[in-house]
């Protein structure tokens, strides 16, 4: 079942509240990402070109700058990738 952008954003935000609470109040940016592999990469890695048309996923990026104990500014970024059905494909951060 395809979810709306708002529904997907809610899933991402709930996930971040649990996993990276330092980012819980951050409004994420949203990008579309095609789930495909560049052809040159396929060739180099010896992969077969998939027969199915690639689908898209939404990537929610939460970022802020924090201050370390020595005064340095450190970027804190987390990305949550969700498919159209609301499944979290990947969660990664720095």
């Amino acid at each position: 079942m395809t979810l709306t952008s708002e529904q997907l954003k809610k899933i991402a935000t709930e996930h971040i509240k649990k996993e990276s609470p330092e980012l819980k109040d951050v409004e994420p940016s949203i990008q579309e990402e095609e789930r495909s592999i560049p052809q040159k990469v396929e060739r180099k890695l010896g992969l077969e070109h998939p027969k199915k048309t690639p689908t898209n996923a939404k990537v929610f990026t939460f970022k802020k700058t924090v201050t370390a104990e020595d005064g340095a500014k450190i970027p804190i970024v987390s990305k949550v990738t969700i498919d159209e059905n609301g499944n979290i494909i990947k969660s990664t951060g720095n």
């Binding site: 990008q31 789930r35 180099k44 970022k63 450190i74």
Partner: protein, 650 residues
């Protein structure tokens, strides 16, 4: 023109013949001259393909055509001879000899052919041997001394298996990569599983053999299964029964033995790539070489003529050290005509990374080096500056050496073993000179003990990576471990270092994390009195390998190198990783690098394999290479001589 005479006047002639010995000697000289001319004309990239497929299944005899196509596509001159017609005396005129039997069941049955091949490899020849039943046939029929010598010296097949003659199986699955080897990676990365479909199935097929090999040979690909009469052979036997075998002799001879009919590999593209890789290995490893790339103009501008002369002296010392271990080092200043004119190439702008990459591509084709070393930091030979695949994470661009490692326009998957020896922002050349002195010493021994530190929030993810190198010391967590309470004996005399901490573009420090607390976990000062000589360091800290406009004391990476660490791997920009296992992004690339280092690969080989494995595993996990995966591939760089490796000591 006067056409009056059709022969000389009679009064000028005698009836005495030229003395026989004079006539013979002259004829011999003429023949030698012709042979020498022909040999000179053929010298270089010439291949002799001997068609040894004499069976009756003509419709399946495609192997010679496959080889011809592959070599001609590579620009090689090819000659094809039938096995019954070839003359051993001509073989030395060729760069490579291919003996192709295809699916011939009674392959290389005659004693003359065997003896020619025995003599050829004994003389240091470079041979591709192909056939689905060469080992099998000799096992069935070989009883003479020549047969035994052929098995040992050409096939490198084990004869004695616990008191009986080793069985050679025919009923096999797909080719499966068992051991890392340039034939599987260079210049084309071959799949771990190569689809193989024999024309004829069963225990009497001439399409494939599963061969047990002598210890002096290397099995590259074995078989996904080996069977007999429809039942699987024991895994302990199948795993040591190979389809693709190589041998390297002390006198420079090389053999690549395809114990299968090459045209039964499913993908024609893979057939071609396998042949190309085999040819590359046969040609290049007989004279391994390294390309050292720098800029004369940029070095002189930064350091002055006197210091440049000192740097060159150290480079020459390094090249001599390479020569002492059998490598040829080629020093190339990208902006110096004297360096480049012998290769009919023109100098390029040393500030133009794209032009430098094109020059490296051209030099690669001419010199076919095994390894590439960039000498200098961004102000000498620039990193490529690439738009951030992640777009909006705070980095607009990524500094990368990846394009230099690729042979085409793709910038994600490396194909060359490449490292960089950076300099720092100072106009004093002493740091760069010290690094050149360090790599002139070719043995890098360090204890296998380890140090690892992780931001507390990433503990479980970090443990998964640290396990690859853990020896004697648990992973430290920050907090409570901080830069100002870190004990020197934790880092002294360790061979392996792992950092999974935060970093900043502004400061040299790395930071831990617990909740919203970000204490300083490690700083360059922690290395001031430490002995980290020959250590291998991997950091996942953001900006961990950022050296742009940094002095030695402003970058932990440069500090480690100043303290004679052998290898530093890190990210030039914001790096990503998971909160918990499984390893992804930076965690995964570091894990793969350490796994390959532990296998004993050189730093350069380990780094290529790490990135290739990373890409494959990311695709396996997610079905595609996402933006953070692409950024990870681009931003991780290696500061090391790619030819070196770590030798562990207790």
């Amino acid at each position: 023109m006067n056409n009056e005479f059709i022969k000389p006047p009679a009064e000028e002639l005698t009836d005495l013949p030229v003395p026989l010995e004079v006539a013979k000697a002259r004829a011999a000289k003429v023949a030698d001259k012709a042979a020498a001319k022909a040999k000179a004309a053929r010298k270089g990239k010439t291949v002799l393909i001997i068609n040894g497929d004499n069976d009756i299944h003509f419709e399946d005899d495609q192997s010679v055509l496959v080889f011809m196509s592959a070599f001609q596509n590579m620009g090689d001159e090819v000659r094809v001879e039938q096995a019954k017609d070839t003359s051993y005396s001509t073989w030395s005129s060729y760069d490579i000899v291919v003996w192709s039997c295809g699916d011939d069941y009674s392959a290389i049955g005659d004693v003359n052919s065997k003896q020619m091949l025995i003599d050829y490899v004994a003389q240091g020849g470079r041979l591709i041997l192909e056939g689905g039943n060469i080992a099998g046939w000799i096992r069935e029929t070989g009883i003479t001394i020549v047969d035994r010598e052929f098995q040992e010296k050409v096939l490198h097949a084990e004869r004695n298996c616990g008191g009986y003659s080793c069985w050679v199986y025919h009923d096999v699955g797909d080719l499966k990569l068992e051991n890392t080897h340039p034939i599987a990676t260079t210049p084309n990365i071959l799949p771990e599983t190569i689809g193989f479909t024999p024309t004829e199935l069963g225990d009497k097929s001439g399409d494939a053999n599963a061969v047990r090999i002598l210890p002096d040979a290397t099995g590259i690909y074995n078989w996904s299964h080996v069977a007999y009469e429809g039942n699987l052979v024991k895994e302990s036997i199948a795993s040591i029964s190979y389809g693709l075998i190589t041998y390297e002799s002390e006198n420079g001879g090389r053999i690549v033995y395809f114990a299968f009919d090459i045209d039964d590999i499913d993908e024609p593209d893979i057939q071609q790539k396998l042949i190309q890789n085999s040819l590359n290995w046969l040609r290049t490893t007989s004279n391994p070489s390294a390309l050292i790339i720098s800029s004369k103009g940029q070095l002189i501008d930064k350091y002055g003529e006197d210091a440049f002369n000192q740097i060159e002296q150290k480079i020459n010392g390094y090249i001599q050290a390479l020569s002492n271990v059998g490598f040829t080092g080629y020093l190339i200043y990208v902006d110096d005509e004297n360096c480049l004119s012998p290769y009919e190439l023109n100098p390029v702008d040393p500030k133009d990374a794209t032009k430098i990459k094109e020059l490296i591509d051209d030099l690669d084709k001419k010199l076919v080096p095994n390894n590439f070393l960039i000498l200098g930091g961004h102000s000498i030979i620039p990193f490529h500056i690439i738009d951030n695949p992640c777009g909006d994470d705070g980095d607009t661009q990524v500094y990368s050496d990846n394009p230099y490692t690729s042979r085409d326009e793709d910038i994600l998957i490396p194909e060359r073993a490449l490292g960089r020896l950076p300099d720092d922002s100072s106009t004093n050349a002493s740091f760069l000179i010290s690094l050149l002195e360090a790599i002139t010493s070719r043995i890098k021994r360090a204890k296998k003990s380890s140090f690892g530190i992780s931001a507390k929030v990433w503990r479980w993810a970090s443990e998964s990576v640290y396990d690859a190198i853990k020896s004697g010391q648990e992973l430290k967590l920050s907090p409570p471990v901080l830069s100002n309470n870190l004990q020197i004996d934790w880092i002294n005399d360790k061979g392996y270092f792992y950092f999974n901490v935060h970093g900043s573009e502004e400061t040299p420090n790395w930071y831990g994390q617990e909740g919203s607390r970000y204490p300083v976990a490690f700083s360059p000062d922690n290395l001031a009195n430490a002995n980290v000589e020959n250590a291998v360091i991997c950091t996942e800290a953001c900006y961990g390998a950022n050296i742009i406009n940094k002095s030695v004391d402003e970058a932990i990476s440069l500090k480690f190198l100043e303290k004679k660490a052998a290898c530093f791997v890190g990210s030039t920009k914001i790096a990503y990783g998971p909160l918990s296992p499984p390893s992804t992004d930076a965690d995964l690339i570091v894990l793969k690098f350490y796994e390959h280092i532990k296998e004993g690969l050189t730093f350069g080989e380990a780094f290529i394999r790490a990135k290739q494995d990373f890409a494959l595993e990311t695709i396996r996990m997610y079905g595609y290479l996402d933006a953070t995966g692409k950024k990870t591939l681009l931003e991780f760089v290696m500061f090391a001589d790619p030819l070196l490796k770590l030798e562990e000591i207790e």
